[in-house]
């Protein structure tokens, strides 16, 4: 159950947009293709409409595969207490997300976890409901 504090935080950010306002997760990413990638953060693209985390992941064959994962909008992340300086290059993380439809090592992240198990970033696990 969400804490009241978080509820209030949500209300803070609550400029509800009419009807519309829905993202296009399904247009761009594939919910039937979950992915989990571990590696070192190489870069953060801190720009609207989405921030992007770049990580280098080492495959079983030892080859380094660069991945990029989409995060929320800085305008939202910042109001939730984030700054770009909190996501540092060199940090080891495990990113859980969903693959992009267009293929490649591109995904949408819903969880960025540190090696000690703490979440560096976690999207809401709530499904969209009525009343946008």
């Amino acid at each position: 159950m969400r804490k009241t504090g978080l509820f209030v935080a949500a209300a803070v950010l609550a400029a509800v947009v009419p009807a519309l306002a829905h993202h296009a997760f399904s247009a761009e990413f594939d919910q039937s293709k979950p992915v989990k990638v571990s590696g070192e953060i190489t870069k953060l693209e801190w720009t609207n409409p989405h921030a992007w985390i770049f990580i280098d992941s080492k495959g079983a064959d030892g080859k380094v595969v660069p991945w990029r994962f989409e995060m929320g909008a800085p305008n939202a992340l910042l109001r939730a207490g984030w700054s770009k300086n909190d996501i540092k290059a060199g940090t080891q993380v495990t990113i859980s997300g969903f693959l992009a439809r267009s293929g490649g090592s591109v995904g949408n992240a819903f969880q960025v976890r540190l090696p000690d198990g703490r979440d560096l970033f976690a999207a809401s696990s709530l499904k969209d409901a009525e009343g946008k």
Binding site: P74, L78, N85
Partner: protein, 283 residues
């Protein structure tokens, strides 16, 4: 009939006609209407009385436009080929016509110039034009002035700026992405609005010739009234990563006096994408 009675009768008849016409007009479904004949613009010699706000400051509210070719090249330039019509020849707007590039920055400018038809973020990609280029894009913009904040809506790319006049701190900007249209703080020096612009995204250009800047660009604009329908616009450019010293551009801004002039919504990037992807299949 007595004169006053006749006057009343004529007036009444006029009102009846007007009412009838109005009712008739309201009842019409809006068919594709021919463009109404342009109402006469305000006479040019409209007096030198500057509009002022309640607190005595000049009121710059209204629609303005620069009438030069700086958007293509802020330095003196010949005609050239680009887009549909090409680049018109024109005098530049740079004081001394020299842009004091550092040597490697000048190489980058030349690279930009060579790729300008595909890489110009404004003309090629319809992205936000940045500051000061937004001021001299060849399209009008609207200044909406209130005591604590000035808003500017540009026709090009629906660009928008706000200029904060309260003197509030910029501390909160720390950690935020850079803004394509910058963070602007204004103050009055007599009748001149001085606007200090920082936190500009490095990806905008100064013009179609590839003149560019870094994320450390600092622009100080000055908007000064010349007369009711003209402003003088000066901007000092400072960017120690790219230039060896500050430099300046200057130009007049002309008030658009067309009746009921408006800045309409124009999202040319959306239109470009509509064309680019019209036959494409999503993966």
């Amino acid at each position: 009939m007595r004169p006053s009675g006749r006057r009343i009768l004529v007036t009444g008849a006029g009102l009846l006609v007007a009412a009838t016409l109005t009712t008739w007009a309201a009842g019409q479904t809006p068919a594709p209407a021919p463009r109404p004949a342009a109402a006469p613009a305000r006479p040019a010699a409209a007096g030198t009385q500057l509009p002022r706000t309640a607190d005595g400051k000049p009121d710059f509210s209204g629609i303005w436009q620069a009438l030069n070719t700086a958007a293509w090249d802020i330095q003196d330039h010949n005609a050239g080929l680009a887009g549909y019509l090409g680049v018109p020849p024109g005098k530049g707007v740079v004081d001394g016509n020299a842009i004091p590039y550092k040597p490697d920055a000048l190489e980058q400018k030349k690279k930009n110039f060579a790729q300008r038809d595909t890489e110009d973020p404004a003309f090629a990609k319809c992205l936000l034009p940045g500051v000061p280029r937004a001021t001299y894009m060849p399209y009008p913009f609207e200044i909406i002035q209130n005591p604590k904040m000035v808003g500017i809506r540009y026709a090009f790319a629906r660009a928008v700026r706000t200029i904060d006049l309260t003197g509030r701190s910029r501390d909160w900007l720390e950690g935020w992405p850079d803004f394509w249209m910058g963070d602007s703080r204004g103050k009055w020096e007599g009748d001149t609005l001085v606007v200090d612009v920082r936190k500009l995204d490095e990806r905008s250009w100064f013009d179609h010739a590839g003149n560019f800047h870094s994320e450390n660009l600092h622009v100080v604009e000055r908007y000064s009234p010349v007369d009711r329908d003209h402003l003088q616009y000066d901007a000092t450019i400072e960017d120690p990563d790219v230039f060896t010293r500050p430099w300046k551009i200057s130009m007049p801004l002309y008030r658009i006096i067309d009746r009921n002039a408006e800045i309409f919504e124009w999202d040319c990037r959306f239109d470009q994408d509509s064309e680019k992807y019209k036959d494409a299949t999503p993966k």
